[in-house]
Structure formats: C-alpha cells, structure tokens
C-alpha cells in the first residue's frame, strides 16, 4: 500500500505523467472528433481539455504541477506559428490578389471584435479591469496577455478569455458561414482566423489548406491591428 502511495507521489510530480496524460487525452479527443465526422461541436480541444480537467480534479492536482509536464506541448506552439509561413508562401498569389479585401476586412473585423466585446460587457455591468481583459480576446495568447497588462486588465483572465473565444469561434464558424451563404474558403478562413486566432486557424486547416492559410494570415494581421487599436479604448472607458 505504502509502495503504491510513494509511487503515486513520485509519478504525480513528474512531468512525464502530465505530458503523457495530455497526449493521451488529445488522442482520445481526436478519435472522438473523427468518429463524429469532424462536426464542429466535437471540437478536439474542448474534449481533451474536459478529460484533463476531470483527471486533475480527481487526483487533486494543481495547474502548476500539470503545466510542468504540459509545457513541452505548449512550447511547440512557437515553431508551429513559424511553420504557418509555408502555407502562406504556397498561397502567396491568391493572397496578393486579395490584398484589398484583406485590408478592408481586417480593419472592419478587428474594430468590431474589440468594440462589441467591451461594449457588451460594459452594458452588463462588468468592472473596468474585466473590460480591459476582454478587449484583446480575439488575438493570439502572447499578444493578448501583453496588451491586457498594458491596459490594466488581468493577463491570466485574458488567457482564459482568449481560449474561450478560440473554441467558440472554431465551433460556430461553419454554421455561421453557411447561414451567411459565404462559400469562398478565403473569406471563411480569414473571418475565423481574425476572430478566433490560432484555434480558429486550426479549425480552418481541418476544412482546407487555402482556408487555413487565410486564417493564419488573419491571425497575424489582427494581432498587429488589435495592438494598434486597443490603446484607443483607454480614451473611451
């Protein structure tokens, strides 16, 4: 009994366990997503997250211990972002041809994302630091957390809001675009990448590579645009 206990105490603290749990949860989640015909509601990120949170709660493990193992997966986000250059270069001709729609959609979409997020929460009575935490929620986590800090928001809350936005956009983009009768993969990809950063981009790559390229492009451009627009908010709120 004590042997089992000391083994658990050892395993519980080692990065190996939580790295393995992360990969296992994702493998299961991806399998479920595939069996569900890649329907948007069966989002692999949501399923994997739910499985892992259940495991953390069941074993009374805190996030810090979990992240000591999961950080190895988290780290690959960096090179993965750099790797988005390849589909971008592959589709460079289409992107250059779409320079005008890209520019206009970027400015309109970026401003809409910021103003509607902060405006809605303000109407619902959320305090100032929450509004500032929400403002950069459509952009990729490292930019969003930096902006939240500058604005006087709570970076750790922003990280969560970014994730929630990413998941919600990834789940709703397909039905929304079908409803709006937008069929162009470039427009669909650009919209989800702008509103839902890397998670939206991951979803767009599931649909097709062209949509994924435009999503990755939108993610990068909206990171810049939001960094430029968000400081204006401090004048309003």
């Amino acid at each position: 009994m004590t042997n089992v206990e000391s083994l658990w105490v050892y395993l519980h603290e080692t990065p190996l366990l939580w790295l393995t749990v992360t990969l296992a949860a994702y493998t299961i989640a991806d399998g479920i997503s595939a069996r569900a015909g890649r329907r948007p509601i069966a989002n692999p990120i949501v399923i994997a997250t739910a499985l892992i949170i259940a495991a953390l709660l069941a074993t009374d493990t805190d996030y810090k211990t979990y992240f000591s193992g999961a950080q190895f997966v988290h780290f690959i986000l960096g090179p993965a972002t750099v790797a988005l250059a390849i589909p971008l270069v592959d589709n460079f001709k289409q992107i250059r041809r779409a320079a005008v729609p890209i520019t206009l959609a970027l400015v309109a979409g970026s401003a809409t994302a910021i103003v509607t997020a902060v405006g809605t929460a303000w109407l619902l009575g959320a305090p100032h630091e929450l509004l500032m935490s929400l403002a950069p929620k459509s952009v990729t986590t490292p930019i969003a957390m930096g902006l939240s800090q500058t604005l006087g928001g709570l970076p750790s809350l922003t990280a969560v809001l970014v994730v929630a936005t990413g998941i919600f956009g990834a789940i709703t983009v397909t039905p929304l675009m079908n409803l709006l009768k937008v069929t162009d993969p470039a427009a669909r990809g650009f919209a989800v990448g702008l509103a839902s950063h890397g998670m939206g981009t991951a979803r767009a790559f599931q649909a097709n590579v062209l949509a994924g390229s435009f999503a990755g492009l939108a993610m990068g451009l909206n990171g810049l645009m939001t960094a430029l627009l968000v400081p204006l908010l401090t004048l309003l709120f």
């Binding site: 997250t49 997966v73 270069v89 005008v100 206009l104 990280a159 162009d184 470039a186």
Partner: protein, 123 residues
Amino acid sequence: MIAALTLLLLCQLGGEIIVRLLALPLPGPVAGLVLLAAGLAIFGRVPESLRSVSTGILRNLALMFVPASVGIITQIDRLETYGVALAVSIVVSTLAAMTVTALVFRWATLRVNRSETREGPAS
C-alpha cells in the same frame, strides 16, 4: 527533419531578438513567421523536408492549445462572479467579428472582380 526543426527554431529565435530590439508589440513567433516567409520568397521554393515537418506540426495544431486551455481551472472564482457577462460578451463579439469580416471580405472581392472585368481583357 532535424535541419527543418532547427530552421523553424532559428526563425523563432530571430523573431524574438528582433521584437525585443525594436520593442515591437508582437510575439516573437509571429515575427519568426514573417522572417521565414520572406526567406522562402527569396529562396523561391519550399524545401521538401521543411514542408513535411511543417505539415506534420500544423496538422496537429489543435493539440498545442490544450495546455493553455486547461488553464481555465485557475480562473473559476472570477468566472463564477462575472461568468455570464464574459460569456455573453464573447458570444456576441465573436459572431459579430466573423460576420463583419466575412461580409466585408466578400463585398470587397466582388467589387475588385467587377472592376477588373469592366477594364476588359487587357490584364
């Protein structure tokens, strides 16, 4: 494969250095993306090993978001108090942003195509 991974990390490292030296409001990896894209544009083609490694990583992009996503458990107290306001805000704003972006994109694409056809077959 290792050479391709090294190239990705070198671009990221270069990106981090540029962002810090110039104090740009950008994450290092995004600057690294720009570096790699510029490099590939100059080089003229994507090397096969870089393509296969990158495709492999991007195919599993969703996995890399899982650790950050699990971080939701650290914010449960705040979500209990303001969860509804935050959730409504995210729903409204994400749908609005996607709608506006897609419609403006489509409208501008149609405008550009129409003016190109009007100018005739010269192009």
